[in-house]
């Protein structure tokens, strides 16, 4: 304690305090931030468990109406097809937690069997895009390079070169395609969820969708090589500039401080 108080007027004391304060703020943020998300998930989950099997009435009807005809809180589901249900529920977007600029992807709380039941019910309300079979979306035999050209023409403008996502107007965004399954990508193109435009088979045939998926998996897969080293998020010049400033120039300045510093003297005065 004595040592501490003796040093508190040290010229570097302010720096140390600042560092401690920054660390504390960061720590507090880290401690609190994820907690709230976890809580939210729990509520949603417990809700679903409570409500039991009548999935639609319980999970969807409050917004989409008892017959799927839609209310002021949610659009009509007549004719959206099973593919839309499989995408929305399968990616955890539906049931939505709260209104906002955009319904985010979150943990899916239904089993695939439950999703299929839901999808069958919605599909019975009116014809629409049907959940694709594995044969449709599997990337076997797809043309990756052609997929790349299609991706750059149709998708990259919102989802970025390699599917890292990007901003849209007023808080909306094109989500990152990291780890999105082939089936869900296929369904998204087919149905045009939320503000994403649809790319129906009439203007973008199945084969081309496969090519696109193959390209996404080639440049944004788990195993995708980044030959140049750590990819810095794949965001282009913004992250590169930040890195160059903070890490690049930062380490060079640190080296400069060492080069210019006086060597320790034999006896400390």
């Amino acid at each position: 304690m004595k040592k501490l108080s003796a040093r508190r007027r040290h010229p570097l004391a302010a720096v140390v305090v600042l560092l401690l304060a920054l660390a504390a703020t960061g720590g507090l943020y880290a401690a609190f931030a994820p907690a709230s998300t976890a809580q939210a998930d729990e509520t949603a989950q417990s809700l679903a468990i409570e409500e039991g099997k009548k999935l639609y009435t319980v999970g969807c009807a409050s917004c989409h109406g008892t017959g799927g005809q839609g209310t002021s809180d949610g659009p009509s589901l007549v004719g959206v097809g099973s593919a839309a249900v499989d995408f929305q529920v399968g990616t955890g977007r539906m049931p939505a937690q709260q209104p906002g600029a955009q319904v985010p992807r979150k943990k899916n709380i239904y089993t695939q069997a439950q999703i299929d039941q839901l999808a069958a019910y919605i599909a019975s309300l009116g014809a629409g895009p049907i959940t694709p079979t594995e044969k449709q979306y599997s990337v076997e035999g797809a043309d990756v390079a052609k997929g790349g050209e299609l991706f750059r023409n149709n998708c990259a403008q919102c989802h970025n070169f390699t599917g890292e996502g990007g901003a849209l107007t007023k808080g909306k965004y094109a989500p990152s395609l990291d780890g999105v399954s082939e089936k869900h990508i296929y369904e998204a193109m087919q149905t045009g969820p939320q503000n994403m435009p649809a790319f129906p088979d009439t203007t973008m045939p199945e084969k081309e969708k496969k090519d696109i998926i193959a390209y996404i998996k080639a440049v944004n897969g788990e195993e995708t090589p980044t030959p140049g080293g750590f990819a810095l998020g794949g965001l282009g010049p913004v992250s590169e500039g930040l890195f160059g400033w903070i890490f690049g120039l930062g380490s060079l300045i640190a080296v400069a401080v060492w080069v210019a510093a006086h060597t320790a003297k034999a006896k400390k005065s």
Binding site: K172, P200, M204, T226, V259, A266, K267
Partner: protein, 349 residues
Amino acid sequence: MSSQEISEESLPSEQDTAHGKAVAESPFANPGLPPHKPRIQDIDERAAKRSERTVALLFTISMLATVGFIASFVIFPVDKIVYVWPLGHVSATNLSLGLTLGIALFCIGAGAVHWARTLMSDAEVADDRHPIEAAPELKAKVMADFAQGAQESALGRRKLIRTTMFGALAMVPLSGLVLLRELGPMPEKKLFHTSWAKGKQLINMNTMQPLRPEDVAVGSLTFAMPEGLSEEDHDFNNKIAKDALMIVRIQPADIKDKRELEWSYDGIVAFSKICTHVGCPISLYEQQTHHVLCPCHQSTFDLSDGARVIFGPAGHALPQLRIGVNGKGNLEALGDFAEPVGPAFWERG
């Protein structure tokens, strides 16, 4: 020019440095260079030896790293990918060459600096500065020389020489300027036209087939180019830079702009894909709001309202292409764009 205006009192006196001995007893006076204090290496030969060994070690590591560089160059095939935590799946060549080269260079530097810091003299030395301005005598001499030179050249008296020389020197760069004319053609009306013309079918750029109205669903997004254009064409890029078309379908009841509705076909509208701000291909279409956003500078256009600008730096709406359906049931253009596509320019009007 302002030297006459300066009131000298506004300048601080140089008391602190100039008076020197006169204020030597001042507690703020410059005490002069402190006596040099030795480093451990200066008084302890063992410490100096340690420093020497460290420097030598650094230089040796550098040599080893260079050997490593050459070895990596020989060993790894250029396409070898390895997983290295936390970098990811990276090129073995790039990583090994980068690190070995980095270490080889860094250690040379570190060795040299450590040598300088611990073994070379660290006594601070003062070096005098001398005023940069020439002494008055020197200046007078130069001015006299110049005056003599100028007088001997007779440039002042022989006005004819002076005038014609200036004229010749001023004119000769014009030749260079004229040569630059060959850099490119005149703009003429090039920016006012695209390849679109009456009767040209809209080709779906995904399938390269003509678009049919029933193919275009509400809420979908399709890109089209005029028939007759091919990616293999030599000037394809120049053409597509103006021709690129964005096709969406909106419920006719939702279209607010009268002309837009008139120029559409059953709710199918065709707008230029080229932003009117600086020409980025704008196509971030939100199918529920009918807004389209430019990824470059965030100009936002409302496709349900004549593509007018609702946000951002673009100065005017996206040009619309008037479309219809031909005998084969395919979508076709009913003419060129009514206005120049892409960024605005002086002659645009």
